[in-house]
């Protein structure tokens, strides 16, 4: 009852907040008006005058307007009337789109063409073709897409291979576009741009048609005549009306062309369109709509990919690993959605450049700051507020991005009736900063930083603080058209502390932290049309403080104790060749040599031979000096993939890869808990080794409008860690005595169909997957379930995701997701008995039962009230309903002794529909 009341109260607060946040409409939104006296002025001055008065930008071709002289006066006249007057009378046409005024010569742009791929206005592109391009100007109206550009020098050679390279940039912002695909259909040759928007392509000399695609941009093509090595920069127009991006994944060909099985990319726009639980976009949770990605439940940090534990995902931002991917124990993502460009998820077929984790790589790309003008974005949701600003420091050379997020939940909690809640505190903030500097055409540097902080205080007795700090310096070098390289120095730290003062004699402060330093070099070398080589190195140092306990009160009887730090060096080198054997068959073959050296500066306990590692069996301890190497592990990781094009729109891929992992997150609860401990491999705890074999078939149909795929995988994992029952992890300097090592296996099949284009788009995917662990140690405590394979905590056999987007009108779009998954495994009580005058419960074999199935349906509506208005601040509102069915999806089932009766209970994180309204703005 009290619980319910508290909920109602919470609702009151949230509704109050939402009302507060709701839009304040100024009902009389007028057209922008112009007051000016034009007397014998050129069209250029006319444009300048308007651009000064009204925040609009004109696009036109100079030669069309050279002869126009304007002699007119306007007083508070709507812009459209002025334009009609001046432009139409000069025999030109114009079109207003957002704040852009596009002038065309002969043809009027029809509204219904916009958003279609045919829209490539000639007037836009001419001014920006770079000088390096020998362009043949089209006469009259000739679509840029039908122009043939000559590249290179005539007359040297007419046969053989030449290299084409250049930048793909966004026309509107001038920012480089990473992940864009340049593709020659006939040859099945393609390349995608790197994080700086740079591409290189080896093509036979001669005429080609380049197809260029990228998420969020209009698809386009260019006709070229390649004469010799040359540079060709391409500008892509942003897709208009991108309120709720319609294209899920414009790289429709990538699923066919890439050699990697199990690569998923999601644009931030796609992730943003997913309905959210607390009004906050979560890039990590967003991936749950993809096949093969699962979670143990809401409010749990971490995701499980193809049977991997949550610590087996390498989560990179700024190319630097993050050790915590969430705020508030999983309710919010660490990563500020405002600055994210794209999220790539490798479930299998992990390229050799990545390593260190078993299951997957989640690589988060951050935007580069706008090099031309200052821009800002922000959003307000029921619990958080976020803001980002970007712009040039030195125009066209140096730019910055700065973003921050914070919560006002402390203030919310202060309003609570319940004294326990009122005296609790929960808040977080994070700050992101990135500076990009272009030294010259061949060199640029990036400096990025992240700081995140979480703070909790439960009632009167315990407080928790979490920090993540990340710093990265990158040097991007392109010495020639064939070669590009990135060198970086990275630092990542995660720490937390728990303080308790409930009982003075026991008052303590506990600290745990992990630090990682890393130097990396990644080089890409396009040898020729057939071979694209990438190679590099990576040298890292881990420094973990396993635990330190201090008095935080002078009368405390706690003995201060600091467990020796764990340190280790990891060193890796890799090389990978993308070998195009024939137009239909390509091979990606790579090897990564990885090594791990556990360093001294700590005590190692020796256990009696042939006994269980328990405290009682310790016979000796040895102190290793700081420079000693206590143990080392070394091994190759193979990365092999084949791609066989079975037709113009289908492909088969086969992939095998091995991964090694030297770091473990230990937690004795189902979710990543507030007091999980990071642990390095050591003389007792061996590295994890994973082998995955995957096979995929990909088929695009109806003009690439639909993509379908089937992927199957089988995975073996060695030295998986599991815990002995009820083990203590905190302040345990003999962790090896709490750990059991076992083998794991996982297999599954993933089906996916998606429709990429059109007003109605979305996907359906279904995954069947299983994950098992076997712990068959020598001693009683090391055997779980008689040494048989048992379900891992995240063994979720059936998983169905349906995602539908519908662009009702330009202002209104609707997005809906449906998820069904099997309940996760659980250990149930099997017997009760009387002991010590209490009824006590005895439990089943580990994970023998399952909690009920998980079913959730969400939807969101996004509304853009000022589509074409030339307003300074553009805002959108989205309403989202999470768990629209109001189903109590159990997170956990547990049993409590209610006056002698063992009663089962079910705990749901969200037991009703959760409505939220989010307000977003940018200017």
């Amino acid at each position: 009852m009290i619980y319910k009341l508290r909920n109602l109260f919470f609702y009151k607060v949230i509704i109050g907040l939402l009302l507060f946040v709701l839009p304040h409409y100024s009902s009389g939104q007028e057209n922008q008006a112009l007051t000016a006296d034009f007397h014998n002025i050129s069209f250029e001055s006319f444009v300048k005058e308007i651009e000064e008065q009204i925040p609009v930008k004109f696009f036109y071709k100079k030669e069309w307007v050279e002869e126009i002289i304007i002699n007119k006066a306007y007083s508070n006249t709507p812009l459209e009337i002025v334009l009609n007057d001046v432009i139409n009378s000069a025999g030109l046409k114009f079109y207003i789109i957002e704040n852009n005024i596009i002038i065309t010569h002969k043809y009027r742009i029809k509204e219904n063409i916009i958003g279609d791929n045919n829209f490539q206005d000639d007037s836009i592109q001419y001014n920006i073709l770079t000088d390096e391009v020998n362009k043949k100007l089209p006469n009259e109206y000739e679509d840029i897409e039908f122009t043939v550009y000559e590249i290179g020098n005539k007359g040297i050679k007419h046969e053989g291979i030449a290299n084409l390279s250049g930048y793909i940039k966004c026309y509107e912002t001038g920012k480089a576009i990473p992940g864009a695909v340049v593709y020659v259909n006939e040859l099945h040759i393609g390349a995608s741009t790197n994080s700086d928007g740079y591409y290189t392509l080896s093509l036979p000399r001669g005429e080609h048609q380049l197809n260029i695609q990228c998420i969020g941009h209009e698809e386009t093509k260019r006709n070229i005549r390649l004469l010799s090595d040359g540079i060709f920069d391409i500008n892509l127009k942003e897709k208009f009306f991108a309120i709720n991006e319609v294209v899920i994944f414009a790289d429709t060909k990538e699923s066919l062309n890439g050699t990697h099985v199990g690569l998923e990319k999601m644009s931030i726009k796609r992730i943003k369109s997913l309905p959210t639980s607390l009004g906050e976009v979560d890039v990590i949770k967003g991936t749950l709509a993809l096949p093969g990605v699962q979670s143990v439940g809401e409010g749990s940090a971490g995701i499980n990919i193809r049977g991997g534990a949550a610590d087996q995902n390498l989560i990179l931002m700024y190319g630097t690993p993050f050790f915590s991917s969430s705020h508030f124990f999983g309710f919010f993502s660490t990563f500020n959605p405002l600055i994210i460009e794209k999220v790539s998820l490798y479930k299998g077929g992990i390229p050799a450049e990545y390593g260190g984790r078993l299951s997957s790589v989640i690589d988060i790309d951050v935007i580069n700051g706008n090099t031309e003008k200052l821009k800002a974005k922000g959003g307000i949701s029921p619990v958080t507020a976020q803001f980002m600003i970007e712009g040039p420091i030195i125009k066209d050379k140096t730019s910055f991005v700065l973003a921050s997020r914070t919560t006002y939940s402390n203030w919310l909690l202060g309003l609570m009736d319940d004294p326990e809640l009122r005296s609790s505190k929960a808040s977080f903030y994070d700050i992101n900063a990135k500076i990009t500097h272009k030294i010259n055409d061949k060199n640029s540097i990036q400096l990025s930083g992240y700081k995140g902080h979480d703070n909790f205080k439960f009632s009167f007795d315990t407080s928790y603080a979490y920090n993540s700090n990340v710093l990265s310096l990158k040097w991007i070098r392109k010495p020639g058209s064939k070669i590009s390289s990135i060198y970086s120095v990275n630092y990542s730290k995660y720490d937390y502390s728990i303080e308790s003062w409930a009982i003075k004699q026991n008052a303590f402060e506990f600290n745990h932290d992990i630090q990682y330093y890393d130097i990396k070099g990644d080089i890409k070398y396009n040898i020729n049309k057939k071979h694209r080589l990438s190679y590099g190195f990576d040298l890292g140092l881990y420094d973990i403080n396993p635990g330190e306990i201090k008095k935080n009160y002078s009368e405390s009887l706690i003995i201060p104790y600091d467990i020796n730090n764990e340190q280790a060096i990891v060193a890796n080198v890799y090389a990978e060749d993308n070998f195009k054997i024939s137009p239909t068959l390509s091979l990606n073959i790579g090897i990564r040599l990885s090594s791990f050296f556990q360093l001294g500066g700590k005590v190692i306990y020796d256990y009696k031979d042939n006994t269980e590692k328990t405290e009682n069996n310790i016979i000796d301890s040895t102190y290793y000096d700081k420079n000693d190497i206590i143990s080392k592990y070394l091994g190759p990781e193979y990365r092999i993939s084949f791609n066989y094009r079975t037709g113009a729109s289908s492909a088969i891929k086969l992939n095998y890869n091995r991964t090694r992992q030297y770091i473990h997150l230990l937690s004795n609860s189902t979710a990543i808990s507030p007091s999980s401990i990071w642990k390095l491999s050591d003389n007792y705890i061996k590295p994890l080794i994973g082998d995955q074999l995957a096979l995929g078939y990909y088929y695009n149909f109806l003009n690439d409008n639909y993509q379908s795929s089937i992927e199957i995988y089988y995975k073996k994992m060695q030295n998986m860690l599991d815990l002995k029952g009820n083990s203590v992890l905190i302040m345990n300097d003999k962790i090896e005595s709490a750990i059991i090592s076992g083998d794991g296996k996982a297999y599954g099949i993933e089906f996916m169909i998606r429709k990429n284009r059109g007003r109605l788009n979305g996907w359906i995917n279904y995954t069947y997957s299983r994950t098992f662990i076997k712990s068959n140690g020598k001693y009683d405590n090391e055997i779980i379930n008689n040494g048989d394979y048992y379900s891992a905590n995240y063994d979720i056999p059936h998983n169905l995701n349906i995602l539908v987007n519908f662009q009702y009108s330009r202002r209104l779009s609707i997005s809906s997701t449906f998820n069904y998954s099997s309940g996760r495994p659980i250990t149930y009580p099997i017997a009760i008995y009387e002991f010590d005058d209490k009824i006590v419960t005895e439990y089943s074999d580990r994970n023998k039962y399952r909690i009920p199935d998980y079913i959730r349906w969400d939807f969101s509506i996004t509304f853009d009230p000022n589509l074409k208005r030339k307003k300074k601040i553009k805002s959108t509102y989205s309403f989202s309903l999470y768990n629209a069915l109001g189903r109590s999806n159990p997170y956990s089932v547990f049993f409590k002794n209610d006056n002698g009766k063992i009663q089962g209970y079910r705990l749901s994180i969200f037991d009703r529909p959760i409505p939220t309204i989010t307000y977003n703005f940018r200017f």
Partner: protein, 355 residues
Amino acid sequence: MLLSLSTCIDKFDPDITEYQDFLVVEGLITNDSTTYYVKLSRSGGIGGGGWIQPEDNAIITIHDDFGNTYILTEYKHGIYRSDPTDLIGKIGREYYVHIETENGEIYESDPLKMLAVPPIDNIRKKYLKKESINPDKPDEGFLIYLDSYNQNNSCTHYRYKYEETWEIFIHWTYPPIEKRHCWFSEESNNILIKSTEDLVDNSVIGFPVTFVSATTTNKLGIKYCINIKQYSLNKEEYEFWSKLSITNENIGGIYDPIPSSVQGNIFCCSDSSKRALGYFSVSAYTSARYFISKTEHDMKVYDPYDLCDEAKPPPPGLHYYILQSQPFEYTVDTACVDCTVDGTNKEPDYWNNTN
């Protein structure tokens, strides 16, 4: 916290079919010269898989490390007792139990050494005002602490049990005096354990035993007494109690540990695939008593008899006193007018001892 935004807990009965009847052993031998009991029972299932049953007709013997054997006899269903003239536990000696059940299964406990226990040196109280669910009415009362200074350092793990006794007086004038003045008793029902391994010396200082509320109980109305028993534990037994309390008190929250079965020190020797539950404890024992009189505080003490309506003599022909809770209806609640229903009117013999 934020979780309560919508977090919901409701009753749920999962479908559990598995059912095993484990032998459950509960026994304790101390250095007190008294009768020791060993209780045998069979576990019951969850959701109607059979109920807990006493285990009769077993043959139980206790053995020490000198090779002596002591026979226990069943005196109640499933409860077996020792003969105090035959067996008295001694500090420093090892003991184990041997059980042969009626159906021929043989179980034994791991031998445990009886560790000396230091005396309880101090019991203290501290006034505490806790915020309660109703913010206008904080819960006030005394937190009871104990100190036990360990001189010989032999024992580093402890278990506590306590018994509370308090005097009450019904303020209605009608019932006869022998039904208005009583002593109520209550035994602890939670697992209270303490390890001093991490502390500078092995002394237990300021260990909180229980909170005696003046707001929700009438324990502090006249005079209150707590008798705390301190048992020495072996580390293995401490771990058993600790697991038992984790598994039975802290399971099910989001970040609570995954439950697992709790293995005691009883094993089946006749069939290694059979499991047994419970523990045969070997502990030295000490106890101390502590009184709190009404004169020591001025808190307003809750009086449950305020909830009883004005007590009136019974209408002719009715044996019970009647509580008039509603105008036309009579509810019988003898506890309102007869304290011997829940307590005893015999003053405990220690009642006028001082602290």
